[in-house]
């Protein structure tokens, strides 16, 4: 608060704080005000000449121009504190009257410039954050004072901006932090001074464009746009939101240049609260109303209006999102584009509606906006893929406590899985599978050894009869996860899933619009009617589902986007009913290359069993008549489940322990063994990876940092269950993984071989017949064989023999070679 008159809503502060003297001020207007206002005899009038001696500006400071900070005072200049010369006489007189050793504070606050500066310098010199994992700090030595390294960076790069994380300030000096939050307009310039002194002391030869500006961010005061209230006015806040509109650049006059039309005397007038007081009289020649504004000698600064809308995640259901107006100044102009998700740190302002001089009544409403100090894009990281805290939710102590209590319960896994989509009956294993998918595995980075990232996401395919509430499950999951996307295979194209290039109608720029898969990065992409998807669309999923990236090369834009998304897909059988006599592949007609990328494939079939029917009926009837409260009691709240998952996903990163790895190895070997007895391959390394992911996810459910044998057991069980459903060879009744990996069961392959051999034998037995009729051969083979042979099988056998270069088929004749 530079001047008492300028605070529209200063009532709070002025009531609470006893007005004391100030050390500097910004305009003449307030000086006269102050003198009449402050009781000179008050014992609270402190001033200490000694405090002014410290902090002698070095030559470097003087040499570098100061840049105005319109972000701190909407139209006021930042205080140029030259502590030696500019002290006004009034204050000086006050100060000299006071006993030495008293504290001198800025009017309206409890900030003492000297102390504040000293504290901040100490903070810069000493603050070390060994656990820092912010991407901005990449490449810095974490055991050295963080901000000194940043200053060094400034001297090298020459960008005179120092970003300061408020949580660092808070952990270092809580009082300083409080002052920063409450009086940003006074404290930040003090920080500026401090940092410049320090900087030019260290790097006296540096040449910067202007003096360093401190940009604090991550103020913990406010997180949510909805929680802004009148108390926050003139305080520093951080809110998150999405940019919806940006205005054009507005040149804002900072200083007006007037010239007398009579004597050419010139004078400068600073903007005061958005207005310029035109001098009525020329001071030189005393002519009235002779001064004219000279536009191109006035000083302007850049300004941009940005509208920010509440991010959809922190909105109560059933209400519309709020918007806030944000002003960006100078180099922050054009830093953000519509659609960006950002965290804004700035000062919240309220300005009364302009008074109309002709009316005595005014609207009693204030206009509010935020003067931005710092922008931080939250979705930028999607392209770097560095850290995950972008949408980190803050949990209250109690919430964490309840979650931990829940995790400590022995049956937490069952509880959570039954809380999932309670309206859908049973299907316990499917729900468990989806639950593990929601938690996901641990992300591993093997890029050092050349394999890149290991997929941590679990993919699940549900197939089954129509009307078995697959879509409902998908809808539920989509509603549960913060970054869920729901598409239908029928309606989506490859472009809609991946990304497309669009010409922005306003700027004529090419813009990359991301599709469902990229949007659900770190979330779940639910794809309904997976089987109805066109082949070209499905092909993009190959890359996404294993490499977790998406490569785009179109319209001159070549890039690779992260799409670390779990896929939850639902497919219907080709014939409207599931044919139990056919394999999964035959039933849903999906390429096996894609199927093998699903960790779990579940069948949702009508079990057609009386006990099941009864339970189902009971469940449904209960659904229809139970009251809301009963349901609440029975099941976990969806909100709790949401938080539980979010917490586990952010904070729990389980690793395999010794026994668990042993168990996994055994499990894998066992799986291989099953098949080898019959000469089949029954497991591939992909299945081992799936097991590991599932085990990790299960450990996450327990909030455990270690993957233990129980987790492996459950992963094994679930995997086996899913396989039993989807990979059972209908001809033999055995589980056969090759159905999923090669699209054909081992027995079927063997059969094919046999038919081909029988055919060959038959031809050989005929002796020298270089050409045969196709149809005749087929009939003969059928007559000879005991098992029924279809035309398809016959053709396949012919093809196999042709591959051996034994014969060729031309039209309706078969020739031997």
């Amino acid at each position: 608060m530079s001047s008492p008159t300028s605070t529209p809503v200063g009532s709070k502060r002025s009531r609470d704080d006893i007005p004391v003297t100030r050390k500097f001020y910004r305009n003449r207007l307030s000086e006269s005000y102050l003198q009449s206002y402050v009781d000179m005899s008050s014992p609270l009038m402190y001033g200490t000449p000694s405090s002014r001696v410290e902090g002698t500006p070095r030559s470097g400071v003087r040499g570098t121009p100061v840049r105005q900070r319109p972000d701190l005072g909407s139209a006021r200049k930042a205080p140029q504190v030259d502590l030696h010369t500019e002290l006004p006489s009034a204050d000086g007189a006050v100060a000299s009257e006071q006993a030495a050793g008293q504290k001198l504070v800025i009017w309206g606050t409890d900030v003492n410039v000297g102390t504040c500066k000293e504290k901040f310098q100490r903070f810069l010199q000493r603050f070390i954050d060994p656990t820092s994992n912010e991407d901005e700090n990449a490449g810095l030595d974490l055991n050295e004072p963080l901000y000194m390294q940043k200053l060094e960076e400034i001297s090298v790069i020459g960008e005179p901006v120092l970003n300061v994380n408020c949580s660092h300030v808070q952990s270092f000096d809580a009082d300083l932090y409080r002052q920063l939050i409450s009086y940003p307009q006074e404290v930040i310039p003090t920080f500026d001074m401090a940092v410049n002194e320090l900087f030019f002391e260290r790097f006296p030869d540096s040449i910067l464009e202007h003096q360093i500006q401190v940009r604090p961010y991550n103020a913990l005061k406010t997180r949510n746009m909805r929680s802004l209230n009148p108390e926050d006015i003139d305080q520093m806040i951080t809110i998150s939101g999405m940019v919806i509109r940006t205005s054009q650049l507005i040149p804002e006059m900072q200083e007006a240049f007037f010239q007398c039309q009579v004597c050419a005397f010139s004078t400068r007038v600073e903007v005061d609260r958005g207005r310029i007081a035109e001098p009525a009289v020329c001071r030189n020649c005393n002519t009235t109303h002779s001064l004219a504004l000279i536009h191109n000698r006035s000083a302007f600064s850049d300004k941009q209006m940005i509208k920010v809308q509440e991010s959809p995640d922190d909105m109560p259901a059933g209400q519309t999102p709020h918007t806030t107006i944000v002003y960006a100044h100078n180099d922050l102009v054009d830093k953000v584009q519509p659609g960006d998700r950002i965290n804004i740190t700035g000062i919240y302002r309220a300005v009364p509606m302009r008074e109309n001089p002709r009316q005595s009544t005014v609207k009693s409403v204030y206009k509010t906006h935020i003067d931005v100090i710092h922008f931080r894009k939250t979705d930028e990281k999607r392209l770097h893929g560095l850290d995950e805290d972008s949408d980190q939710k803050l949990f209250t102590e109690e919430r964490v406590q309840t979650l931990k209590e829940l995790a400590a319960k022995p049956d937490v896994y069952e509880r959570l899985s039954s809380a999932l989509a309670p309206s859908i009956y049973e299907q316990e294993d499917i729900k468990k599978g989806i639950l593990l998918q929601l938690f996901g595995g641990t992300r591993k980075d093997f890029s050092q050894t050349g394999r890149g990232n290991f997929r941590a996401e679990v993919n699940i395919l549900l197939c089954g009869d129509p009307g078995t509430s697959k879509s409902q499950l998908l809808q539920y999951v989509f509603n549960l996860v913060p970054r869920g996307q729901y598409t239908s295979g029928k309606g989506s194209s490859a472009v809609g899933l991946t990304a497309y290039v669009m010409k922005d109608p306003e700027t004529k720029q090419l813009v990359l619009q991301t599709g469902a898969l990229v949007l659900s990065d770190n979330g779940i992409c639910c794809i309904d009617e997976f089987d109805k998807m066109s082949d070209s669309t499905r092909s993009v999923l190959h890359e996404v589902m294993e490499q977790q990236t998406l490569s785009i090369a179109k319209a001159g834009i070549i890039c690779q986007l992260n799409a670390r998304t779990s896929v939850l897909a639902a497919a219907n059988p080709v014939e409207s009913q599931w044919n139990p006599k056919k394999t999964t592949i035959e039933n849903i007609q999906l390429p096996h290359t894609l199927l093998s990328r699903f960790d779990l494939i579940f069948l949702m079939l009508d079990p057609q069993d009386e006990a099941y029917d009864r339970r189902l009926a009971h469940h449904l009837v209960a659904l229809y008549y139970q009251s809301e409260e009963q349901i609440e009691e029975e099941f976990l709240d969806m909100a709790v489940l949401k938080d539980y998952i979010a917490y586990a996903r952010t904070y729990i990163n389980p690793r395999l322990n010794e026994e668990a790895s042993q168990a996994l190895i055994e499990a894998y070997v066992d799986m291989r063994k099953i098949g080898s007895g019959r000469g089949m391959v029954s497991a591939y390394p992909r299945q081992l990876e799936s097991l590991i992911r599932l085990a990790e996810a299960h450990a996450k459910v327990r909030f455990s940092d270690k993957v233990e044998t129980v987790d492996v057991e459950e992963a094994k069980r679930l995997h086996r269950e899913a396989l039993k459903q989807s990979a059972t060879d209908p001809r033999t009744g055995f589980v056969d993984i090759s159905i999923l990996t090669t699209g054909m069961s081992a027995t079927a392959r063997k059969r094919k071989e046999e038919v081909a051999q029988a055919l060959k034998k038959m031809i050989q037995s005929r002796g020298k017949t270089p050409a045969m009729k196709y149809q005749q051969l087929f009939d003969d083979l059928r007559g000879q064989s005991e098992a029924a042979i279809t035309k398809d099988m016959f053709e396949e056998a012919l093809r196999a023999l042709a591959d051996e270069d034994y014969l060729t088929v031309t039209g309706k004749t078969v020739r031997l070679l």
């Binding site: 002025s14 006015i233 509208k307 519309t320 107006i325 309220a350 009316q359 009693s364 009837v621 008549y625």
Partner: protein, 627 residues
């Protein structure tokens, strides 16, 4: 009572200092007064009384739908000003007011900033003419007392109207408009409201600011006052699309009208940061002239369970008495209504039964994503020509809120169904699916012809599909979508099976083929007495509000039944069928005024569902090409 209408709000701020609870007491007082019997009917309603007959700063009520919620605003709760007569500094209260009096000392230390929010409210979309008419007549008593014949209170183009319009409006109170549902009941109310009529074309943001103001009604062709409601308490308790009866203080101060100069001096812009923030479109949307969009400072709002004026609206002992007295009659009214609907549906009793069940259906709860109680009916095999239109008119006569969406190719491609956020004007541009709860949406698929749906057409069809399956509408916020749950009864009429999903399809089997359909239906319609129709109306609204439960015993029976049915042929009955039969059983019981499911009720539900299914099977075999 009279004093309410002249009740002026000057709460001296001195009072606010001595007694900080006065705000709570004010609310308490008004709530207490309004709770008294009959008292709310004394408050003039913005829905019925033309704006210029209402006295500014008086208490009015408004029956409306929350169409949009604007950003919260900070206002001067208490401010200091100089009393012009005594020249002394006085504190004034800014609550429930739009403007301050005299010059405000902006630097006063006594200023208290407070927060309020503005809702943009429109009359309930699709409100049937009869509902308007009846509430209009019942509220007729007082407004003349507040009528002040002074010109300045009038909005423009109003000079030809005069006091004599009032007696005319009191036409025979017991006639209900028959037939022509499009007609507006109070003929001369029309001319008064012309200026507030929504433009039927869906153009947004007219380029010229003097042109017609877009009042943003969800449905085309709607009329009535829109209102900016300032909300002070309980902001979180209100949701978008809530239907409310708001009691508040009317404010039409002309100062509120901001004149937008299209070509402002650019240098002014430079130095006026507060004014350059808003685009002209935004100003038009947020500060429309008070004569067209009055401000209402909310004292108290009552959420409306229904907007049927024939039913007591407050859930008081009053209502329960009404309900119990009506319950006795329920079965007989049902029989009459069923007979009536059978006639209307050309003698098809089964279809009439289903239509009746559909009309009382209601989403009574949601289990995670699944809405329970919805019952979308697809009436296939409808005769072409104007039958569906007539059918709609009859439905409209029975329900308090309805809308007919003719699904022609052109409307599907051009109409905006889903509300969309307009970031330039910073408001939610409404769409036809922004409807109040329990609105009957009549989708006329017989109007659909062959042709190409463009992308917006596909989006519209998807939106309708989502509405039917999940009872939700995804509003378009251009950068993301936001899901709003809704509770809309959808009735689809089509020739073959509808392309939209539905809970239940009934092929219409006409028993009679009248040579002149129009005449036939009009005759049936005319044959009903107003009192009879009113009974039907009460019946339909009431049956929906009844509670319902299933005893353990019947639960068991239903389970057994289900198991038995599955035993014979597992393919014939699926979980989905059980879902539907449970809904049918529920609606059937409620339609008879029974609040628990009886064995008989269950058997009946099973029976009619069987009849319906055999009919659809039959239809399928008739034209085999149908899926």
């Amino acid at each position: 009572m009279r004093m309410w209408f002249v009740c002026r709000f000057c709460c001296p701020a001195a009072q606010s200092n001595s007694n900080p609870e006065w705000e709570a007491k004010v609310l308490e007082y008004f709530k207490g007064q309004l709770r008294e019997k009959e008292s709310h009917s004394w408050v003039p309603s913005l829905n019925d009384v033309p704006l210029h007959y209402l006295k500014p700063n008086s208490l009015v009520k408004f029956r409306c739908l929350v169409q949009d919620m604007f950003d919260p605003e900070f206002y001067m709760g208490v401010y200091e000003t100089v009393d012009p007569s005594t020249k002394a500094n006085v504190l004034r209260c800014g609550k429930y007011k739009d403007v301050t009096e005299c010059g405000v000392d902006l630097n006063s230390r006594n200023t208290v900033t407070a927060e309020r929010q503005t809702f943009y409210c429109v009359p309930i979309p699709g409100e049937s003419p009869w509902a308007k008419e009846i509430s209009f007549l019942s509220a007729r008593v007082v407004p003349s007392t507040s009528y002040v014949p002074s010109r300045q209170k009038r909005s423009y183009e109003e000079d030809d109207d005069d006091m004599d319009t009032q007696p005319q409006k009191q036409r025979e109170p017991h006639t209900v408009m028959m037939g022509g549902g499009g007609e507006h009941p109070h003929g001369n109310g029309d001319s008064k409201r012309q200026e507030t009529e929504a433009p039927s074309s869906q153009t947004t943001a007219p380029s010229d600011c003097s042109s017609h103001l877009d009042l943003n009604f969800p449905l085309p062709g709607e009329r009535g006052p829109a209102c900016l409601v300032k909300v002070y308490e309980g902001l979180d308790s209100f949701k978008l699309n809530d239907t409310l009866e708001i009691y508040g203080i009317l404010s039409v101060n002309p100062v509120l009208t901001v004149i937008v100069y299209p070509h402002r001096d650019p240098s002014l812009l430079l130095l006026n940061p507060t004014e350059s923030m808003e685009t002209p479109e935004e100003q038009r949307a947020h500060d429309p002239p008070a004569s067209l969009v009055p401000r209402l400072h909310m004292l108290y709002a009552r959420p409306l369970q229904h907007n049927n004026p024939l039913l007591p609206s407050a859930p008081t002992e009053d209502q329960s008495a009404f309900v119990s007295s009506f319950l006795v009659e329920m079965a007989s009214v049902r029989a009459e209504l069923l007979a009536y609907l059978t006639h209307v549906l050309l003698g098809d009793g089964l279809a009439a039964e289903y239509l009746l069940l559909h009309l009382i259906s209601n989403v009574y709860t949601r289990r995670d994503v699944l809405p329970l109680g919805k019952f979308t009916l697809n009436l296939s095999g409808c005769p072409l020509n104007s039958y569906t239109e007539r059918l709609y008119q009859i439905v409209q006569q029975l329900v308090p809120c309805s809308y007919r969406l003719s699904m022609s190719l052109h409307t599907m491609n051009s109409m905006r169904l889903v509300p969309k956020k307009d970031y330039v004007a910073n408001r939610l541009v409404s769409g036809a699916l922004q409807l109040a709860r329990n609105t009957s949406l009549f989708l006329d698929e017989t109007q659909l012809e062959q042709g190409q749906l463009d992308s917006s057409g596909v989006r519209n069809i998807t939106a309708l599909g989502n509405l039917i399956s999940w009872q939700k509408v995804d509003y378009d916020f251009s950068y993301h979508q936001m899901e709003f749950p809704c509770n809309i009864n959808v009735l689809v009429t089509s020739e073959g099976r509808s392309l939209l999903p539905s809970d239940c399809q009934v092929p219409l089997q006409p028993q009679v083929t009248p040579p002149n359909m129009e005449e036939y239906l009009t005759t049936i319609h005319m044959a009903q007495f107003t009192s009879q129709i009113n009974k039907f109306r009460v019946y339909l609204s009431l049956a929906r509000t009844l509670d319902y439960s299933i005893s353990d015993e019947v639960t068991k029976a239903v389970e057994d039944d289900f198991v038995d049915m599955r035993k014979d042929d597992p393919q014939s009955v699926t979980a989905e069928d059980l879902h539907r039969m449970l809904v049918v059983a529920r609606l059937l019981s409620l339609s008879l005024g029974q609040t628990t499911l009886s064995r008989d009720g269950w058997m009946r539900a099973k029976h009619i569902d069987m009849l319906r299914r055999s009919r659809t099977e039959q239809q399928k075999s008739l034209n085999g090409n149908e899926p």
